[in-house]
């Protein structure tokens, strides 16, 4: 699935011009960088107070790189231009923060400490291994991620409903989409703390009416975790639902009819035809959802602060406390970096696993 590779015959002069432009651009970038370093270190009086000039130089360098690519490599250069802006943009935005982040992770840096930050190697890492809160949060994340499967089933059900022959389909589609639009902050307050309030919340009243005498949604560990899962699911089910609905609408009609003609029961038709065809889009939806789920924090922070007794704590909400409430920046960053690496490994494995699987199905 790719356009064939083309090789142009590029004249030497044009190639050299390309090299020259890239060279000049690079020179400018290096010069700007050097100037600022010298200025900031006090070696020369020439320079600017902020590093913005390096940013401009980087933009110029990026443009030079693009032009140079086209001049030097012709068609291949034009093709490179598609991806270049995104790559340059992303690299520019994350390279410094990531490197600096890794450095911070290896320091003892408490913002309240008068002595500032001290390099301490892997001490934070060893401390992390013995940290019961981090371990507890990681275990909770497993529960939270498993909940995605339930969300998937519900989202799939809703997508099937919306795809059926129904009246007022547009109305239902819009309504089902709405929860996605709400900010987690508003959700935590208006739903978690108001609607599910023990005394006056309508949800609690409903629960009482249904026979639950003490509808405290956040008081026992299991129920609190379920309530958080529910709140989070409520906002994100529409996300999966629209992806799945889009998939259903794109299903080839003839295949469905063939299944019907063959006399398959609806149940068989679903498992034999619809579900396998939907597998790729399902996997995309579930993986994106898992990634969002792994960052779950806002609702937990606002509604339970991780309680009762850490039952609803997520890794991100724990890092928030360590980082924000305790200004323990070095350790907090180490926790986050390790979490990042864990997620990357997990997602890579997941992608490897499902890619083999989807290929089998297709």
């Amino acid at each position: 699935m790719a356009l064939e590779v083309v090789t142009d015959d590029i004249p030497a002069a044009r190639r050299n011009a390309g090299k020259l432009i890239i060279g000049l651009g690079s020179l400018l970038l290096v010069a700007a960088f050097a100037m600022q370093i010298l200025y900031k270190s006090g070696a020369t009086p020439l320079g600017y107070d902020t590093w913005r000039v390096v940013l401009y130089a980087y933009v110029v360098w990026g443009a030079a790189l693009g032009i140079g690519q086209v001049l030097m490599r012709g068609e291949a250069g034009w093709r490179a231009l598609f991806i270049l802006p995104a790559v340059l943009f992303t690299v520019a935005m994350v390279i410094f923060p990531t490197l600096f982040g890794f450095y911070i992770a290896m320091t003892d840096w408490n913002l309240s400490s008068f002595s500032g930050r001290k390099f301490n190697g892997l001490d934070n890492f060893w401390q992390m291994l013995a940290d019961p809160y981090y371990r507890n949060a990681l275990v909770n994340m497993i529960y939270y991620v498993l909940a995605v499967l339930v969300e998937y089933v519900v989202a799939f059900g809703l997508a099937l409903l919306l795809n059926a022959q129904i009246r007022a389909r547009k109305f239902f589609r819009v309504v089902f989409l709405l929860p996605l639009m709400l900010s987690p902050v508003a959700v935590s307050w208006m739903i978690g703390k108001s609607l599910m309030e023990y005394r006056f919340g309508p949800a609690a009243k409903l629960a009482r009416w249904l026979g639950w005498d003490t509808p405290a949604f956040f008081a026992t560990p299991e129920i609190a975790r379920l309530s958080i899962m529910f709140l989070d699911a409520w906002t994100f089910i529409p996300f999966m639902m629209i992806m799945l609905l889009a998939g259903l609408q794109a299903l080839p009609k003839d295949v469905m009819e063939a299944a019907h003609v063959d006399g398959a029961t609806p149940w068989q038709a679903f498992w034999g035809v619809t579900f396998p065809l939907m597998l790729p889009v399902s996997i995309t939806a579930v993986i994106l959802r898992i990634i969002f789920k792994l960052k779950l924090a806002d609702i937990v922070i606002n509604v339970t602060s991780g309680g009762p007794g850490g039952a609803t704590d997520t890794v991100t909400s724990f890092i928030f406390r360590e980082y924000r409430d305790r200004s323990n920046v070095g350790y907090g960053t180490m926790l986050a970096m390790v979490y990042l690496i864990l997620i990357i490994i997990f997602i890579t494995l997941l992608l490897k696993f499902v890619s083999r699987w989807t290929r089998d199905v297709n």
């Binding site: 598609f82 802006p85 994350v94 410094f96 923060p97 409903l161 679903f270 924000r324 986050a336």
Partner: protein
Amino acid sequence: MSTEVISSGMIGESAVTPGMKARFLGSRALIYGALLLWAFICLFPLYWTVTTSFKQAVNVTQGHLIPWVDFQPDWKGWRSLGLSPDTIGTTSTVRDEFVKRFTNSVITSVCASLLAIVIGSLAAYGLTRFKYRFAWMRNDDISFFFLSQLILPPVVLALPFLVLYKELNLLDSRIGLILLYALMVLPIVIWIMRDQFKSIPIELEEAALVDGLSVWGAFFQIVLPIALPGMVAAFVLSLVLCWNEYFFAALLTSTDAKTLPVMVASQTGSQGINWWSMAALSTAAIAPLVIIGVVLERYIIQGMTAGAVK
């Protein structure tokens, strides 16, 4: 439930026996029951939020539900924002704040989404059509590189970004937020647009190339119009994520560029909650997205449909 749904569309066409008719009605009832139940689950919290913004304290603490029946609506919540009928004409420092933040939210989220759509679509197109090699990275690795930006918990980058933005003089500027938000939603855009472009038959472009168009010409004239609904879908999703972003907005802005979510969050201080003003602010904060959702919903599904099943 799902099986019923698939069958229901087809049963109507075949010969109808009384037994089938009963089954058909039963499945209909089930479908609409489920639809209405979920619609209620989706709408009730919104209803609760909107009505709470018109409540007085006692209505909240007693859980009154229906305006004019349970309680007498009151402009209290909106008055605290300077947005009620009787305060709208007067000077209100709260409203000024609100309007300023609202404007900033609109500008940053729209610009960031647009930026992400532009560079994200280009990248997604490149990744689906051409083979790249950059050091050890091939297309899949480059895609994963982009995706990995989505994984990053924002808190990791808090302090580094603070330092970086300070040095670049981007603190408390809309540009700074726009760049950051664009980075944040870029992976989603690339992911969605990649599926989009994959679903467009490559023969279209091959024909265009034969006709003498360049790759960029083919992209703009042939591919882009087809992929437009997908771009709208990606745009709306980006908009939602940017609009609701709170963490960096609180960290990197102070006066000029501050956005709405920070204002919502800060309703929650040490003195209990004025539910009515919290609700009014929440309503005002979600209203634009709800409107966008209603208007553009068609494109969202349509846009995602194109690339969904391959």
